[in-house]
């Protein structure tokens, strides 16, 4: 078996690879931020909300965790269109990713919330803080600090999983690759290049989240405790 590698054939497409990579990063960044907010609210709702909220969140989480992402993407994409809204593939991709990662985030953050000892809440309560103030100042930061490594993995996974949205032709990295390989017939080379780019993106996401952690978790930085 002699295969002649020809990476040079892909050179004219470097700009498109770059565009795809940037869109992948963009999709992931937006989905990470919104998914984090959604997931955290869900976690609080499930831990401390009224019965119907707990039920709603539990249902949402179980449905998302037990169906394939690809199916979720299709449902969002075609669902939105059926409801009569016109959103682009990129937008549909973001919505699907947010819905997906929000569910996983809520489970991770819930573990963090549960790890904050009741005595902390009691102390804050006795100082006269309101429930919102207690969550904001006393519970959330230590909770998220504790599960931050798990969240980081989840958001790297999200970035990688965003490749699935190529199926609704969101023009992210994998979709770009699909197009380039059908133009050049250099499939093997194309996906090797794309694989390397994904590796680099993962690295970027990890570094980014690590730096963010350093900024937010001041105590860890000052005391030199590893995240």
């Amino acid at each position: 078996m002699t295969y002649q590698f020809d990476f040079a054939a892909l050179l004219p497409y470097w700009h498109e690879f770059l565009q795809g990579a940037l869109l992948t990063l963009q999709l992931s960044a937006i989905a990470t931020v919104l998914g984090f907010i959604l997931g955290t609210l869900c976690a609080i709702g499930r831990a401390d909300g009224p019965r119907w909220v707990r039920f709603l969140v539990a249902t949402y989480v179980e449905v998302i965790r037990n169906t394939p992402l690809l199916v979720q993407v299709f449902i969002v994409y075609f669902g939105i269109a059926t409801l009569g809204f016109h959103v682009g593939a990129d937008m549909a991709a973001v919505i699907a990713l947010v819905v997906n990662v929000g569910a996983y985030t809520s489970e991770i953050v819930r573990a963090g919330l549960e790890s904050v000892h009741k005595s902390q809440l009691e102390a804050a309560d006795c100082l006269g803080l309101s429930r919102t103030q207690i969550y904001w100042h006393v519970v959330l930061r230590p909770a998220i600090e504790r599960v931050y490594p798990a969240l980081t993995s989840q958001y790297v996974l999200l970035m990688l999983a965003s490749s699935i949205t190529s199926q609704i032709s969101a023009e992210e990295l994998t979709a770009v690759a699909n197009r380039i390989q059908s133009d050049t017939f250099r499939s093997f080379e194309t996906y090797i290049v794309v694989g390397v780019i994904y590796l680099a993106l993962s690295f970027i996401v990890r570094i980014g989240l690590w730096l963010f952690g350093l900024v937010v978790f001041v105590r860890r930085r000052k005391l030199g405790t590893a995240l």
């Binding site: 005595s119 902390q120 009691e122 102390a123 804050a124 309560d125 006795c126 100082l127 006269g128 803080l129 309101s130 103030q133 100042h137 006393v138 930061r141 230590p142 600090e145 978790f217 001041v218 105590r219 000052k222 005391l223």
Partner: protein, 242 residues
């Protein structure tokens, strides 16, 4: 002397376990009351009821003019008047000593950051930890953490301070430094109720000793009561401790 705290015939059970069985006592302004008794005698529960951390099933509790037994009690209003310090300190680990103290004054009393910081330094000086403002709780000894917890309560300028076995997790030396802070507070006229196993401290500082046994107030009197107990149970309890 007007009563700051008044418990009357308080009943409380956990399941079938009757923890408080008709507890009554009063604490006047500026008084230091030491609640003593064996583990399980209900003394910590009594203290927690005073701060509405537990709801009671019968009787009345009046604290600084608040009807604590009332279902319509505004707990946050009560907490403005009552400070509590716990055995396990319960400092917020992600905040510095200074931030721990500033949190409630800024959140609850809407003090400016600068005013809250000044206040934090003032109360830290009172507990002898002025130089630890920028430290994190985990960098402090147990005794220091407990003094920070006391300072954090003091920053809210409570009318009444509750201490729930605050030295039980500390070695004798650290216990000494915490007790000294509490003695200073008492001398400064703070109304205090402390649940404690420190008999010597109770004898020396308390103006009133409440001995609880089996969920009841078994005996009550001045600190000197510990030297001549009238009930065999207290005699037993004091005797075993000396």
């Amino acid at each position: 002397m007007s009563a700051v705290v008044k418990l009357a015939n308080v009943h409380k059970s956990f399941g079938s376990n009757k923890v408080l069985d008709g507890v009554s006592f009063e604490v006047g302004r500026g008084e230091v009351a030491a609640v003593i008794g064996q583990s399980g005698s209900g003394k910590s529960t009594a203290l927690r009821c005073i701060n509405a951390l537990e709801t009671i099933e019968g009787g009345t509790i009046e604290v600084c003019g608040h009807a604590v037994h009332d279902k319509a009690l505004d707990r946050r209003n009560l907490r403005r008047d009552v400070g509590i310090v716990f055995q396990s300190y319960n400092l917020f680990p992600h905040l510095t000593v200074e931030q721990n103290i500033m949190l409630a004054p800024t959140c609850v009393k809407a003090l400016s950051k600068q005013k809250a910081r000044d206040l934090a330094h003032e109360v830290l000086a009172r507990v002898g930890l002025g130089e630890k403002a920028g430290h994190y709780p985990e960098q402090l000894s147990g005794g220091q953490q407990q003094r920070v917890a006391i300072a954090r309560s003091l920053a809210m300028q409570p009318k009444l301070m509750l201490f729930d076995e605050v030295t039980s997790a500390l070695d004798p030396q650290l216990t000494g430094e915490v007790l000294k802070v509490m003695e200073d507070l008492a001398r400064g006229g703070m109304t205090m109720i402390l649940v404690t196993h420190e008999m010597a401290f109770a004898r020396k500082v308390a103006s009133k000793v409440v001995y609880m046994h089996k969920g009841k107030v078994w005996e009550t009197g001045p600190g000197s009561m510990l030297d001549k107990p009238t009930t065999p149970e207290l005699a037993d309890f004091v005797g075993s401790g000396l």
